[in-house]
Amino acid sequence: MTFLNRFAGLRLYAVLFVIFIYGPVLLLPLFSLDTGLYPTFPLKGLTLQHYAEMAANTSMIEALKNSLTVAVIVSALSTTVSIPAALALSRYRLPGAAAVLGFMSLPLLIPSIVIAVALLIILLKFLGVALSLWTVGAGHVLICIPFCMSVLMSRLEGFDPSLEEASRDLGCTGWQTFWRLTLPLAMPGVISSLLMGFVVSFDEFVIAFFLSGTQTTLPIFLFSQLRFPDKLPGVLALGSLILAGSAVLVVLAELLRRRGAKSANPGDI
């Protein structure tokens, strides 16, 4: 009896936990379909009008395009620079490897406002670079690298080291081994790293706020729109679409991860 009660209690806890995490997010698509101007209950009626408004809002679409462009370039760039670094750190016993890894993880620990201010000073005072989407991207690469590194390293460390030795033994140079063996095997990690970089950059507010010039990214645009109540339903509609998009991405990434996990222990018999 006590066991059953405890079991029921855990089940209730689990349900509340899920509601706590996902409830607020799920309100977004709900209100985006409501005819009312303000997001309150009871709902007034069903409409797709806000989605039409959203599509007609050219400056919002422009901000979305900026964000997507920056996120795609940032994720490609930070993954590309992280692959050799992750290989070096996971394959060779480098002097000071721990220190290098520690420094690379610093952007995770330093508040992004500090990084943003520091970058702003460097860009304007020392380099004399005008603020633009490029400067936003540069800042984002900095904070994406630790995420990409950790994803890639965990994938690369799972390899049987004799696979690369076998490739060398069969006549491949180091470079050929990388293209024919290491990269294909690391591909699930590379894709996770690309997704991770994309999400981190797409979502980032503080650095983008400091480093963007006249062109804004989506988070900054949305923040500026909150001053106009009549713009809110369009924001909700866009938010719902992004939510649906990221749900698809997460499912894809998970499917890839599972496919990768199956081949993660190639030496097993």
Binding site: S162, L170, G171, S263, G267
Partner: protein, 360 residues
């Protein structure tokens, strides 16, 4: 089988090779010649340096000092990918993202061989290791024995001068292992390539090799044909590592003359004359001992039966001789009864079969 002549143009020649990892010497001063077409085994317990030596031959590790030549060419500064060697790894290292054919053809793509010829060689290699028809299988659909064959085919298809095998049979179950031993031996004869085979299994080394190097603690203890290694072990380590060895304690009765007693029975062994102490250890192979009184033997020791293992065709009897428990094998013949535990018995042997090792 006669061992190939190794004095003319060895395929592999190692001179004073040392390997140090930090303060630890993995290999001390190894000098060794391996002849062309030889099946050569490196035998020793784990940590004896046999795998390190194999990896130095492959070019995966570099020696700290000393020189190495393969096929007459000095290998200093030649990386693994440009050496005339190929290796079968202990884990097999089958590439998981490629199918069987792609695995086997992996090395051929670096050789600028026409596509059709490469395909023909892959098919030939598949047939050689009896995997015909499995070319399209994925790596994860293969059994342990099949993986081993793929690894073998992948190395042989490159037609190396030397094939290096790192304990390739250790992951297989016992029956498969014995089948593979004779198959590997037959394969080596068919292709005529020099095989260097690393193993910790002395039976495997004895059964397969033309010659064996027994290694211990980074040194080579003895190099020789299987029968030499087994019958005339050069050191106490070789004697105890290769084959089962019984130890008997003997008291020295006349120092310097080789007169001893074992379990109260006197015997004369000139080899024991140099022993400094009051006791020496005698080593005896189980198959040189006979249960009962044998007219061909000059030495008969009193014994008591302590354990009998019935193994089918062989009966292994453990007997107590003057406080030392030794084992001896006899064939199970219909009509000859299995000895009873606790009964007294006699053990016969010839004094020339006794190996004198250092006193403890």
């Amino acid at each position: 089988m006669p061992a190939p002549e190794t004095t003319v143009a060895p395929m592999i020649s190692l001179r004073n090779v040392q390997k140090r990892f930090g303060d630890h010497f993995a290999l001390h001063d190894i000098s060794l010649d391996i002849g062309a077409g030889e099946f050569f085994s490196l035998l020793g317990p784990s940590g004896c340096g046999k795998t390190t030596l194999l990896r130095i031959l492959a070019g995966i590790e570099q020696p700290t000092s000393g020189s190495l030549s393969i096929g007459g060419d000095a290998m200093a500064g030649v990386p693994a990918n440009r050496r005339p060697t190929n290796m079968v790894f202990q884990s097999y290292a089958i590439f998981p993202h490629l199918n069987v054919e792609e695995n086997i053809g992996y090395g051929l793509r670096n050789m600028s061989i026409p596509r059709t010829e490469a395909a023909a060689r892959v098919a030939e290699a598949l047939a050689l290791v009896k995997l015909d028809g499995l070319g399209r299988r994925n790596a994860d659909q293969l059994s342990g024995g099949q993986r081993q064959r793929v690894a073998l085919a992948r190395a042989l298809v490159c037609r190396p001068k030397v094939l290096l095998l790192d304990e390739p049979l250790s992951a297989l179950d016992k029956n498969l292992r014995q089948d593979m031993q004779s198959e590997l031996r037959a394969l080596q004869r068919a292709v005529g390539i020099t095989f260097v085979f690393v193993t910790h299994d002395q039976e495997e080394a004895l059964a397969m090799s033309d010659r064996i190097a027994v290694m211990n603690g980074g040194r080579i203890e003895q190099v020789g044909q299987p029968a030499e290694i087994y019958d005339q072990p050069a050191t106490a380590f070789v004697a105890s590592f290769v084959g089962t060895l019984n130890r008997l304690t003997a008291r020295v009765t006349e120092r310097g003359a080789g007169h001893l007693t074992v379990a109260g029975v006197p015997l004369h062994l000139p080899a024991a004359a140099s022993g400094p102490g009051a006791e020496v250890t005698l080593a005896v192979r189980p198959e040189t001992l006979r249960l009962g009184r044998d007219p061909e033997c000059d030495l008969v020791l009193p014994a008591r039966v302590v354990e009998v293992q019935f193994l089918g065709s062989i009966v292994r009897t453990r007997v107590d001789v003057g406080g030392d428990v030794i084992s001896l094998d006899s064939f199970n013949r219909p009509g000859s009864p299995v000895p009873a535990i606790g009964s007294s018995a006699e053990v016969s042997l010839r004094s020339k079969d006794v190996i004198v090792t250092q006193a403890p």
